[in-house]
């Protein structure tokens, strides 16, 4: 199954902070769990159009594929978990989501 045949979510970056956010159907959330799952091309197109109309809140909305394990593309997983490396200013010391993304990489 190609990525475009999978369910999609709308993701973007928050205008003020730049953090990754997901379209919930009513607004935006930093949690993928809150994202509105879009199963068919028509609802995906409609949701993306609504999200694009919310340019006062977010930057660059687009569709990203999800499966049972979460976001499909490695790039998208890094987007939500943050850098996979233990950088100096990391807010979540001692492993954290970055370590998870690292272990699920290529």
């Amino acid at each position: 199954m190609s990525r475009k045949d999978l369910p999609q979510v709308v993701t973007a970056n928050d205008l003020l902070s730049g953090v990754v956010v997901f379209w919930t159907g009513q607004g935006w959330s930093e949690a993928l769990a809150d994202a509105l799952m879009l199963d068919d091309p028509q609802t995906q197109k409609e949701a993306l159009a609504v999200a694009e109309g919310d340019a006062g809140r977010v930057v660059g909305p687009y569709l990203a594929a999800v499966d049972a394990a979460g976001l499909v593309r490695f790039r998208e997983r890094i987007r939500i978990t943050g850098p996979t490396v233990d950088y100096a200013g990391r807010p979540d010391e001692a492993g954290g989501p970055g370590a998870a993304a690292g272990s699920s990489g290529a």
């Binding site: 970056n13 205008l15 003020l16 902070s17 730049g18 953090v19 990754v20 340019a55 006062g56 930057v59 660059g60 499909v72 593309r73 490695f74 790039r75 890094i78 987007r79 943050g82 850098p83 996979t84 490396v85 950088y87 100096a88 200013g89 990391r90 807010p91 690292g102 990489g105 290529a106």
Partner: protein
Amino acid sequence: MYRYDDFDAQFVRERTDQFRTQVERRLSGELTEDEFKPLRLMNGLYLQLHAYMLRVAIPYGTLSSTQMRRLAEIADRWDRGYGHFTTRQNIQFNWPKLKDVPDILDALAEVEMHAIQTSGNCIRNVTSDPFAGVAADEIEDPRATAELMRQWSTLHPEFSFLPRKFKIAITGSPNDRAATKVHDIGLRMVRNEAGEPGYEVAVGGGQGRTPMIAAVIRDFVPKADLLAYLEAIMRVYNLYGRRDNKYKARIKILVHELGVEAFTREVEAEFAAQEAPVTADPELVTAIEAAFAPPTYAVLADDPPALAQAKAANPAFKRWVDTNLMRHKQPGYAGITVSLKPIGGIPGDATSDQMRALADAADWFGYGELRVTHEQNIVLPDVRQDRLVALWRHLSQHGLDTANAGLVTDIIACPGLDYCALATARSIPVAQAISNRFADDDRQQAIGPLAIKISGCINACGHHHVGHIGVLGLEKNGEEYYQLTLGGAPDGAAAVGKRAGPGLAAEEVPDAIERLVDHYLDRREDDETFLQTYQRLGHDTFKEVIYAPGD
């Protein structure tokens, strides 16, 4: 070093005020993102994977201790307590919030810094030899010319919308430490037959998806004619450079497609036809040159007894001095490379505490000046040799005493897919794995000079094309993989590395590099470096060992 004059201070202040208004208009909805994006990019503000990224210009890599402390303050107050020094001798902050950026730009302006022209299709920050002004092999300090070019190219109306971005590098030494041959224009100071200093001009170098070594189009341009000659080059590029395809828009493609001779003819014709060639006001030139006058050095001798005693008493200090010291033009002084490549660390990253420690080092052990290198390290340019041991102790308290300048763990790596929206694969974890593999100091010393450079995509910000061993991260079917190149060199006889067979998984890269290194150690003659042995034995013998586990 150069200090802003009233004009500089005013235009930076005006730009900062202007950007504050632009941010307000974006937040109020008055500007769309399509309208705002080019404005933020003109001020160095990108949107990366997780956050905005602000790229701050450090002209020709020179900054004061005051400026370094301000960078630390910005990191603490508006970011996450660290910054990333880049192969463009700039610094990037990875986590600023849009609403804070005008305040950050104000804070930068107060110490004569900005983020203008760190993005966009304009002339970017001019880069230079990090040892400019102090290198023993130098003809003259090239930074006066670099500063003149900064003033000429900043907000230049004719060259603000070029076909593509444009990078100029300049060196005053015959030994190229500024990778000039892989820049759009590379300037190397030479003397003419009369002994006057001027510049050899090379054009059309670059990395990215089409790596090329710049071609020399003029053996000598007098210093007084340099801006006019640069304008001639820029005009030919602006006129004939392709705007229909961004992948063919760099000047290297124009030079390649026209041919060096035809391109040179066009430039020479444009140069000759200038009715009122641009010239710098002699008073301004004198003032700039005075700003780069050397400090008043003490009269000292090289190799003071105290240094020899300290080296004899402390092997770790000796290793650091033998590895990270650059010969200074002034007897009794040294240029020191402070490595930002601790074993297993992130190349180029420095915490705010480390930035302050570096600023302190510049004040306590030098004349308050620091340099950023394109190899993502920091240089302290003027350290008394009899104070090296005190400096080393200070640096060691802040994790800044790694003795690996120019060695296998002094790895260049771009931010890669851990941060960058353009990246196709991660760079940093690969650099860390290689660094950990070669952590042993004695082994590093035995291997000698070896430049490993890693890019996380074809844009080559990690300079992989000119690595003795280059590593290019790519992606296929959702998996990262890494392509090795061999035999590249940024200096002297600059060369683009040659691709070495199929890509490797990330975990295979350290093993492959170890086999390359062992192959070199087994076969080197006398004091040959890795690159010399590679050049003597040829590409194929090295390529084969990459894929021959257990050989």
